[in-house]
């Protein structure tokens, strides 16, 4: 069975890019455009990995992460932060990696492979 990645990203062009990239590399994807949807989807789908944009329309990424960590079933799910803010390494300190847009896709895939 394919590993599942939850993409939380509100920019449709970037989301489309991530979905295509992951599916081309044999991952299944689910996509949410807001933190609230992201949390619901995470609980429903139990993804193997989450990519998280920091600036979401309804909530700030780090708060989403705290809510995610509060869920026992989800708190060990690896999260990769992908954001347009430079210096985002400290925003979610427990994230397995933090990438700054525009990111290197080989690097992203490598990190994903390392964790799932």
């Amino acid at each position: 069975m394919k590993k599942k990645i939850l993409i939380i990203e509100d920019d449709p062009a970037v989301a489309d890019y991530l979905i295509t990239l992951f599916e081309d590399n044999d991952y299944a994807t689910v996509h949410a455009t807001s933190a609230q949807d992201g949390l619901t989807l995470a609980q429903q789908e139990q993804p193997d990995l989450i990519t998280l944009d920091l600036e979401l329309p309804d909530e700030w990424g780090p708060r989403f992460y705290r809510k995610l960590s509060a869920d026992k079933a989800l708190k060990n799910t690896p999260v990769i932060v992908i954001s347009g803010l430079s210096g985002n390494k400290y925003a979610v300190s427990k994230a397995v990696a933090s990438l700054t847009k525009p990111f290197d896709r080989e690097e992203l895939l490598k990190i994903v492979r390392e964790h799932i």
Partner: protein, 502 residues
Amino acid sequence: MSGTILIIDHDTELAQALGIYLKRQKYRTRIARSVESAGSIMEYPESVTILADPGDDNSEDVAALKKISTTSPHHRLIIYSKPDRLEKWMAIFQDDAFDYLRKPVSGIALDLCLRRAQRWVYQEQALRENAAKIKELKNTQALFQQLFDEVPCYITVQDKNFRITATNRLFKRDFGHEIGEFCFQIYKHRPSRCADCPVAATFIDGRRHQTEEVVTSKSGEQFHVLTWTAPIKNEAGEITQVMEMATNITQIRQLQDHLTSLGLMLGSMSHGIRGMLTALDGGLYLLDTGIRHQDPDRTSRALDQVRQMVAQIRKMVLDILYFTKSRKLEYQRVDLRELVHSASDTITPTAERNGIVFTRSFPSGNIPIDVDPVWFRSALVNFLENAVDACLSDADKSQHSIDFKVFLPDNDHVCFEIADNGMGMNQETREKMFTLFFSSKGSKGTGLGLFVSNHVIRQHGGSIHVESQIKTGSLFKICIPRIRETEASLPFSEISAKVQTK
């Protein structure tokens, strides 16, 4: 030195005897037989005491003496004569003569008379000097008043209660004629004095103080001013009033604001640019893999995305360029239809993809207009894209539409009407939409688009009319002069014959 005495007497012997006596009294003397032979007394630089005996009824001498006494008031005329003629001279000379002495002249009478005359001279002199001083003082005062009025800052003089006792012209122009009002009331519209009042500080220590304030003029405009204070002291050295000079530095502050916002803009845009570059990367990836896997769907999707991102990046770069320097427009005569077609073509794919009904209505025929095609087109695109965004952000309606109507209300103007039934704007958004960095689109907006578009339209001498209702939609009506004034004299009959709205 006791002055000069001119003795005029036909009796030369007597005159010489008098002269010797007077010399002994330290007077300078001159002796003449007649007024005529005395030369021009008028040319004597200093005042002269004339001791004259008109003699017999020599009318020439009498007339000449009378003339001197009336035309040269700084000379003093003393008539001396035989007692039997004295009254006659008095009747003739009246008070034009300073005094009358009888012959033979007694030494003491002459001395007293001359001393009195001398004293009168001094008094006259003092009077003249004082008159000159007063005149000078008046001139100086006028000069100071002029300086006070013409100085290019706001000057107020305030008493210990911060009541304004004097103001200069610039102050009166911008803040009114408010003598007797409180400084804090006039400048700041507040009920009590400011905490860091420089005038109060100067009253306490007698030194100059400097602050920067924001004040509001009588027309409600806000000015940044730099204030200096200086004490005004009375003769005893006590500070009775304080003068406050306020220089308007609003322009400098605006420039500073501009530079600050420039920095702010570049900072806030970096996030947007990163997003666009990522999307462009995505587009290239789709294109690359689409071609490699020979997937036409993916390839066309990729091309669409790359095109869209390039357009967005292009627009953003143009906005930055526009903002960073006040660019002069480069007018060109272009065809109206071509311009509006190319502008509306940029949103057609997005509108189609999202099921937005995009209706266009343009005038037919070739209609030349004078615009800067790069900027004007990008302003139009901006308004159109905003209409698309407004539709996409509105979840309440099942069907969305955008109407783009271009028409000529008269030969001299072109109007562009963009109407959408999207999310609309509330009052706050309506009021602020043209403000720099105001965006209702969160992280998706830079707050530059409408600011720049508004500026471009204004630069074209145009106007923007906005109607908007929240959850109902918006209407932007932009009108600009069709032909630039310098070329308005061109024959127009050919063009206007072709102009017809659909």
